[in-house]
Symmetry: D2
Subunit: 352 residues, 4 copies
């Protein structure tokens, strides 16, 4: 049993962590912080946790986080980097669900997040939390910057095409002409009082947003470059808001190179992810649905080549709060502490 | 053509007024105020009005509302009563969509709305804006306090049973044991940044609220007493939030008196509303749906007597933003200025 | 480990059974039948079960159900009673999610379900599957007719008021004037191709249905009479369709007797359900939400007495597919085989 | 006043025609056919039309369609072509909402629709019903094959880039590398009893479909070739089902040619559509929402060039039942009979 703390437990990734960790056989929930709600029982704010989570929210000062073995940050950007040094010094492992430890290029971080980075030295040792790509590094990490929700789906959707480990010596696709058309449920916008995500505004409605530029674009680009092992990667990323609570559906379009035309992509994907517990390559011709992973840590991928042409279409679904956030966090936690990777993550999707 | 101003046009009743008035053949939109959005084009905030409404939001100071023939208040409670005196003095007719001029008992107003009433004298002359009940008074009114959304559905659902004009000399129901189980879409909560009505919170979810007491309870009670012509009226009112944008469905339960047992209620309702342009009594056995009035000023009512017993069940649907608010406002405006009552209100419901 | 079969696994209660049983530590899924889908892998129809359920649908003839320890019927009404005799003879315990073994009065069954009962003798020994009321009988049962979704919520919502075990010698409420205004998500209508429950028809919409009479009315009445220990029970039951997938919210209205006026109902409910693992009496003043039990076997109840008057309002929420169907089925299975009652049912609700 | 008939009025495009035509000042609804519902009042099936449409459904035999000035076919594919000859002979103009008269290449029609074409000669004279492209031909047409819902949004979204009338002599984009990622509400699937579009299946869910090939692909390709004036056009078209009732959002990706890099696309689009009553080019940087055209015949378009790169992103929204079907039908009707093009089509979108 390890002791786990959560900083910032009142948002959606926070309550999702609570759902998962409360059922994890090797985790003892130690404390959960919220300055604004200090003193309130967690189960009062989230009645779904009544009789399952006994904690109260506490102020960061009273949370004694240094007693923990690991601490999750389910906070706005900027919080984790302010507390990382002290926790690491106390031998506490850190998992950040925000962006403080995702982008290795500090200038890029500062450009997109509008704040200076508080601990560039710690950032250097931070591992990007995408287990299917970085499993061995995560096992050794003291601090993990968990992959974002969109970036998880786009990177795992493209990795078999870009990774040198796919067994092909030549490029299969034009890595500079990638298009990622992504659709997210509204929980991706967080548990924040905002007009744009009211049911009256966002339901029975569909729209794109941030077409000019989205913070996940540099994260995806960094990740794809790392996977490809070179810098010749560029993509157009258009996120959309879809009227549902949970789920991301990424539709990825890539152009095949002449070398790529003879590849059996179905076989490639199946082989690439053959041993992954959470990535499911669907049979040829499938159309994965977001609900088929609702509430689970699974990801489902289908590969299409319409008309046998030069455009490959990859469909990827995940639950943005699980595989796209808190579930992936628990997956990394398991790796960091030597637990079986699927421990506490075996929930079957809720369907219908 | 009359000149009409709107105070507070950034909420749902405001934009709904704009939709209706922009198509009204006898109305010229004169000005629309919003302190926070002054200077912004209305069509920038509400793109559905592009090329249909040319106005910009202005501050109340610059709106020259005294030039109008009529002014709607689509504001929080308390705003209309602060400006009523000046407008009336300038010969401007007032229609208030908030509660300032609904409750004639000032103590009750102050108890439920937590503020003193600013103009009790004007309140006295204000007419309650429910045309099917108060048509003649509205025609003569200088100031109308429009009926609330729930109260409209409950009062019109019960009026044929309570009104002395129903042709029965004895009481048909026990007026002290009325139950109103009401369900509203989230637009009833307004266009306000709040967590509880986020799509992520309110969709795929159902709950009651304010069971302890809701501001519409005293309004309904006042209205039913006025309809019945006596004070022996009491009801239990439970509002619920349902995951849809527009629509109220009120399910009303009343106990028949021995005199009521022999009445043909289908015939009574059909007769009572025979000449009403906006109240549609459905055929016996019907289950009206909220969508059948979506976007229209219509109300649909069905009367059931399950098992032929002593409990009568009345089903009432309306669009809370139209017949429950802005449409009813235009209906009153038509009456106040001698236009045909249905002018500008002939939209057919959007279905599906 | 026991072997469990499922007859009719292509509907919502069937797939929900699969979700729950696949995670049950003492259950081995033995076979699942579907005549129309025989030969298809379960996980092909329900991709959420890929890598979790290996079974294929088989014809009833090939299912070898007599090898099972228990068989669930997740079928239309009439199927279970046709197969019950043979299974019982083979020492297989039966849990029917349909209505074949709910109503003890055969005439009532035949009137509401329009078919003769195939095995009145077996019906006599069948136990009504509502563990909080019938726990001891279920432990001994060979055949259980599981309570319906609405009936579960209404009966458990009213039991503390009606049961002689509530510690009051006199009636607390007028048991002949009960009103149950119930709202259900569309999964209650089943996985059937029908226009009325298309998203295009049922979303952004609210309506009552079957006000004239619903099959659950006689079931509720039978259950309440059994709980009360007398026949003087009558209720008005109005079901509504609400635009969400899962969840039932029952709003119950009862009239207090003079003896009931002095009772502390909050304390009564808390005491009555103090030892129940799945019934959660919320703190005074609460408004339970259906999503707080989404995907879980929990039920939440709140008791209100608006204005301190004579009308008591009880709010009850459950997931119609779990506590209202398949979860309750597993709960009964646990009782029938001596497993801990909560085994395999400890999922935390999915929120948001 | 002209007499208009509708063949097949029980689907969504049929009831939408009724909503629009019932309010059209120059149209008299003459008859509406449905073999299955013959004898039923239209308003019984669609209560939103009570007191607005008095017709009953009749059999085709009794409908006397040859008395009409124009007949709409809101039927499955194959019906219009069987009746076209007789109607044309009686001097009745035809508007087909299905696909019988969209594809000029009979082989392509037969390949995608799986039936021989019944009247190739009539097909030859049929005009493709997309007024912004074919206005003058529609004015002269006896028979119009209305553009499909997806094809309308994709063609109008791309026309300014491809049309020789855009004022550029050289190609601006690579017309052989177009990607159309389209999202539709469920009403696009029609009013048909099907499991896949049940609220329980399609709500809180998102998926692609028909990635292998969709009937609208050849229609879009034919249309884009006609607009471009050459055959070097190819696109990848991926439709998605989104959990809402009405609305299509098409996200279009095109690659600029070197000649295209210096073009001001915002100005190009604004100029191209400057005189169109129903196509609204939004200000630079906009993200149009489907709800901003809900229930209206408007289309909104925004043009983006993320990062100033070589990929242009065009966002297009329409109501699939109005501009994508019945509204466009009325627009064509107006053209065919010399009415003002916007007559009966001035509804403002319903928002929220």
């Amino acid at each position: 049993m390890i002791k786990v703390g959560i900083v910032g437990g009142t948002g959606y990734t926070g309550v999702e962590l609570l759902r998962l960790l409360a059922q994890h056989p090797q985790v003892q929930l130690h404390s959960i912080t919220s300055r604004s709600e200090a003193g309130m029982a967690v189960a009062e704010m989230f009645p779904s946790l009544r009789n399952r989570v006994d904690l109260k929210f506490t102020t960061p000062e009273n949370a004694k986080l240094t007693e923990c073995d690991a601490v999750f940050f389910a906070t706005p950007h900027g919080v984790a980097m302010a507390q990382a040094k002290e926790l690491l010094a106390a031998n506490v492992k850190i998992l950040d669900l925000a962006a403080d430890f995702r982008l290795q290029d500090i200038k890029v971080f500062e450009q997109w997040y509008g704040m200076p980075h508080a601990c560039p030295d710690i950032l250097k040792e931070a591992v990007y939390g995408l287990p299917e790509i970085n499993r061995e590094k995560i096992k050794q990490a003291r601090i993990v910057g968990l992959a974002g929700c969109y970036p998880t789906s786009v990177q795992l959707g493209l990795a078999p095409l870009l990774s040198p480990q796919n067994g092909f010596s030549k490029p299969l696709i034009d890595a500079q002409r990638i298009i990622a058309d992504c659709k997210s449920g509204t929980s991706g916008a967080g548990r924040k009082a905002e007009i744009a995500t009211l049911l009256s505004e966002a339901s029975d409605n569909f729209k794109a947003y941030a077409v000019k530029g989205h913070r996940h674009l540099p994260e995806i680009t960094q990740g794809l470059k790392a996977i490809a092992g070179h810098d010749q990667v560029a993509l157009t990323f258009v996120p959309h808001l879809t009227p549902m609570i949970r789920g991301i559906h990424s539709t990825l379009y890539v152009q095949l190179t002449p070398d790529g035309r003879s590849v059996d992509f179905q076989a490639l994907y199946e082989s690439f992810y053959a041993n992954e517990p959470f990535v499911d390559v669907m049979p040829a011709g499938s159309h994965p649905e977001t609900r088929s992973v609702r509430g689970s840590n699974g990801m489902k991928i289908a590969v299409h080549r319409p008309g046998g042409g030069d455009t490959l279409v990859i469909l990827v679904v995940e639950d943005n709060l699980v595989k796209g956030a808190s579930g992936q966090g628990v997956q990394c936690l398991n790796l960091m502490f030597g637990f079986p990777e699927s421990m506490g993550l075996e929930q079957i999707a809720l369907m219908p």
